[in-house]
């Protein structure tokens, strides 16, 4: 036998329970939405610079992050594209694009340093100093980053402006636009512009 007082309590709590259930459902929906937005363990980088020292810094960070279990995306744009070139091709280009092609380095070997370059002597000096200190060369660092699964994307728009064709760039890279970068950047814990 339930005394009158207790049945009154049950009647009072019953509507509260359904309200609570509704609240839990709303919270669950919010948690799901937040989870979908929450960042991945990812690092996104824009490599705008074509300076040996800056590109090297980008690859050091990229391989360090990849070695720490992060997903890494590198977007090469403007002068950064010169680091990804493997040959010079002049066919099918405008005069300015040809000039641009001739005046910019082909690949990482041709990159100069951001300070004290002195027509490439500075870059040679830096490479020698790095070798003396046991620092991997930019080419080894880039290969290592790719072996570690770093995603490398070349910017289509700056390729079009500068007249760089995909077959002038190293193999195994992707081509994409700003949305490709933003797609990865918005899911990243850290974003760098180099």
């Amino acid at each position: 036998m339930i005394p009158n007082g207790q049945s009154a309590v049950i009647e009072r709590t019953a509507p509260d329970l359904s309200a609570l259930q509704e609240q839990i459902q709303q919270l669950q929906a919010q948690v799901d939405a937040l989870r979908a937005q929450s960042p991945e363990n990812r690092l996104s980088m824009v490599v705008f610079s074509g300076d040996l020292d800056r590109v090297l810094a980008a690859f050091v960070i990229a391989s360090g992050a990849a070695a720490s279990g992060m997903e890494v995306s590198m977007f090469f744009t403007f002068w950064g594209l010169t680091a990804l070139r493997q040959k010079r091709e002049s066919r099918g280009k405008t005069l300015f694009q040809k000039l641009m092609g001739w005046m910019t380095p082909v690949g990482s070997r041709g990159l100069g340093v951001s300070k004290m370059n002195f027509g490439g002597i500075g870059a040679k000096m830096l490479r020698t100093m790095m070798r003396q200190q046991g620092v991997p060369q930019l080419e080894e660092m880039a290969q290592m980053a790719r072996d570690l699964g770093v995603r490398i994307v070349a910017c289509q728009m700056s390729m079009d402006v500068m007249g760089i064709h995909k077959d002038e760039l190293i193999d195994g890279i992707e081509v994409g636009g700003v949305a490709t970068f933003l797609g990865d950047a918005t899911k990243s814990k850290a974003t760098l512009f180099i």
Partner: protein
């Protein structure tokens, strides 16, 4: 201090980021519960391995020590796979 370990990576003479890159390659091959010992001469590796163990969920930095080996300061890192 004598700490037991299963595998060793010799990163002596290598600069950032090579000690952690080489450590990662070997760490991936470890079984759960095994410990990796890394030898490095890079003084920055002391902080690097702390940061690395923070980022890699299955890695636990058991100990770090400094010793003299062949006239060089060597930083030793012990990382256990959880």
């Amino acid at each position: 201090m004598e700490i037991k370990y299963d595998v060793e990576v010799d990163a002596r003479g290598l600069q950032c980021p090579m000690p952690i890159v080489n450590a990662r390659k070997t760490f991936q091959t470890l079984q759960s519960g095994q410990t990796l010992r890394v030898l490095a001469t890079d003084p920055g590796s002391v902080n690097d391995f702390k940061g690395w163990a923070n980022m890699v969920a299955e890695a636990e930095l058991v100990a770090q020590e400094t010793t003299e080996l062949d006239g060089k300061t060597v930083y030793i890192h012990y990382v256990r796979k959880k």
